[in-house]
Symmetry: C3
Subunit: 360 residues, 3 copies
């Protein structure tokens, strides 16, 4: 009679962050290794090989006085359609021989790609994500790349190949008049024994003759667009993102590499590289190391590089202890931060952190 399973992750730790030009921050924190969350899921066999499943998954900020999904906040500009927020996933899926069709709010293939090919992806140690976020990349695991109002399709595998499509419409609408954004993503994956290759193409297009100041658009503020007072027409808004990832399991270690190229309208492209390894050092322990560099060219020039080293120890199948350090070196106007702590332009950021991840 129980058609729903309650599940989640409780991740809590302590972080000390030194962001150049800012006061050092020592604090209990939520979700340093994996985002804390509470979820409800279930599935039903409809017969004829058809299955329906649902996922309701909400962010938790377990260090704070916040509810399930955290507290509701509009972002700095009062825009609600921010990519991070209370709901991680609210999706219904239909699966069969044809693959899976899903509707709702969900992790896009861009998110899956980032977690798959990035060492320490979607954690506080994710320097590739830090650089991607500062560069305004759409694929930015620290920022939780999810979309609302999505229709998604995941193909079955054909000889190691499979593909994902995500279509979201609208992702942000003009408050008045004719204007909206839509996004389409194509993910291509190839898995063959120890080798895995994945590419994601992510396009955002504006439609309509309404105009907007870029600062009114949550996405544009994070995207390295020219300063916020710039007024553009929805029809002129366009972002193209190409992303390639490779992973190879050598047995003694797993190596992963990523390359991301993001082009905003007619501005010069931004680029982010990442390379990392995961080295099992005992039956329960793994060392993770990752290096990333970025070149931001959309407006003022900014370069950043980051490095993280972390150790994870499986206390059980459900509980992980972790500790690590992370370092972001910002050059010229670089502002890559760590864990939402951004330095003054060109200054470095360093973090020491440790904690526990408990899955339930």
């Amino acid at each position: 009679q129980e058609n729903v399973q309650v599940y989640g992750i409780f991740d809590i730790g302590v972080a000390s962050i030194d962001a150049g030009g800012k006061e050092r921050r020592n604090k209990v924190d939520s979700g340093l290794l994996r985002t804390s969350r509470l979820g409800f899921k279930g599935s039903e066999d409809l017969g004829n090989g058809l299955k329906v499943n649902f996922v309701l998954e909400y962010r938790l900020n377990v260090d704070l006085n916040e509810g399930i999904g955290g507290n509701y906040r509009s972002d700095a500009a009062g825009v609600q359609g921010s990519t991070s927020g209370p709901a991680r996933q609210q999706l219904l899926g239909l699966s069969g021989n044809f693959g899976t069709v899903a509707f709702g709010r969900m992790n896009t293939t861009a998110f899956d790609w980032a977690v798959r090919y990035t060492v320490l992806g979607a954690s506080a140690f994710d320097v590739t994500g830090n650089n991607a976020m500062a560069a305004g990349s759409r694929i930015n695991p620290v920022g939780d790349i999810r979309l609302s109002n999505v229709i998604a399709y995941k193909s079955p595998a054909f000889a190691g190949f499979r593909f994902d499509v995500n279509y979201a419409r609208p992702i942000e609408e003009a408050a008045a008049g004719n204007g909206r954004l839509e996004t389409a993503q194509l993910g291509l994956y190839y898995d063959n024994g120890p080798l895995s290759v994945g590419a994601v193409f992510d396009n955002i297009d504006g439609h309509g003759n309404a105009t907007l100041t870029l600062s009114s658009l949550a996405f544009a503020r994070g995207a390295g667009f020219p300063p916020g007072t710039t007024v553009v027409r929805y029809d002129d808004l366009e972002v193209k993102s190409q992303n390639l990832g490779v992973a190879y399991d050598f047995g003694v270690l797993k190596a992963k590499a990523t390359y991301q190229r993001d082009k905003f309208m007619d501005l010069s492209a931004n680029k982010i590289w990442g390379v990392g390894v995961e080295v099992p050092v005992s039956a329960k322990g793994t060392v993770h190391a990752v290096y990333s560099a970025s070149s931001v060219n959309t407006q003022k020039k900014a370069d950043s590089q980051g490095f993280s080293l972390a150790y994870t120890h499986n206390l059980s199948k459900r509980t992980i202890a972790y500790a690590g350090l992370s370092w972001q070196d910002n050059e010229r106007n670089g502002t890559s931060g760590i864990w939402a702590t951004a330095p003054d332009a060109g200054k470095d950021v360093k973090m020491l952190a440790a904690g526990i991840t408990h899955m339930f």
Copy 2:
């Protein structure tokens, strides 16, 4: 040891709405057939024929980045006591031979009445509800007729007769000084084989010498009261609503009809009619058709009529696929909308929608 059951509905689909004078809206939507929700409920036998039960049920907007209960929002005027909102039900009930007494926030008998006697009631296809909402009726299933701070009583059945009483106090209080509203509802029901008849009398009374501008009152804004700058005393506020419903199961089809009359203070009464059928066309499929008309006389004259045709197909006992169309024809100053998409006065609205309802 498990004293609580987690349950809910995940309803997601796609709707295309053309509201006269507005841009067409194509969008993934939540709750087109039944409102998406997540709930927790349980009961305990206290002995001596006494039972206690609780329901905690929260709205979900599964297409959006919102938490359990949706995001918290004050309504347009900053008033929090809006009838729709995060909590569908938060009630504790005590049941015995005497019937049931319940306390908290809950569906009133007005809501039960609307769902019972209206074809496609409380769905996006509910044209009777659309007209009721535009007419400011208290019984408006699209708006989810629930009340907070309720004491309710449901009688047992006597020879097919039973009655419900709901008393809510206060439903909206003056921010300062002496002023509040209270509401009392009486529902009378008669069930005999294929026949069901129900009547609901719903009175709202203001008390106190404080004055208020009607626009400060969530309920008055939706109720077709004269324009918002009108200042009245709480003592002068009064709404009387009479509602009659009939359902008859002919076997080959189920027919339902409703009549609603709402009188606001000393203004002319508004009236809403509805008639519909549910026709089983196969073991798993049902066709639903409903027509509704309204006459709004509180201020400027407005007439509306609406029609919906939908098909539901039970993929299983817990999963329904649906598709349908809905049409609202507004005459004079009519503004009946569909699914929160309101047309310019006197213009029509049309919707095509399809989706899946999964119960868990």
Copy 3:
């Protein structure tokens, strides 16, 4: 496979409150005896005597249209770090022979102390809590003494003795510049047969050279500090609270007494006394009586005394019916309220209340 247990309390009743100088308030209310809540918890044995557990527990306002955790609200001054709020507890604990270490948001030892040594503690009948709240005491069960960003340690018992330490940092930070508060609590407990003694020392210290107006600080507003326009440096902020409690189980009744002394910076100390009894009068029924007095000296002088008498009846192990009365007598400028209903200075408050507590 089920690693999480859903649990909670549904407490709902009716209260009539007469606060001097205000209109009488008759209302359905949530949590009159115990705060309504919904929680998720679980634990895992990690081997070697080590255990991990988590608690996610959120407040419910079951009389209102609010979600899990209630609706998100900044407090009157727009500050988010208020001690009451959506999350009661979000903690991860590690337990072993060494005791328990916990991280997150949680009930502090100050809260445990208040509930342990106060008759009707943390209920609407908690006159000791009313006086503590009006006196600005940190240990104020009606206000739910919890802290975020806590690291806590609970020792094992040594010959009846045990101690708890809570450290929270920062509890409130300057919006800009260098300024924050940290709090440290030490709880000492001795249990020997019918006797229990507990003391809690609670210190709050400010750090940094930023200045603030006291009214910008949620904690200071409730703490009886001088009027809000006072500007102080974080470095000068200091609160010291000493609290002693005793309980003795005589068999025919349980007696409890508390003494609290709170000193804010260099102002005169505030004092709160409480004494009460719990008398089992039948297999299922208990009478509770409590008297409390306070002397507030921080600014204008204010004295208050309060008395409550309540009866609880266990309908089952999980369900309690209750009824009681509460009276606050405010002298000079006293403003002790009942259940968030505060009188005009020096006026009395009286409450009659009854309800049901259902645990699941």
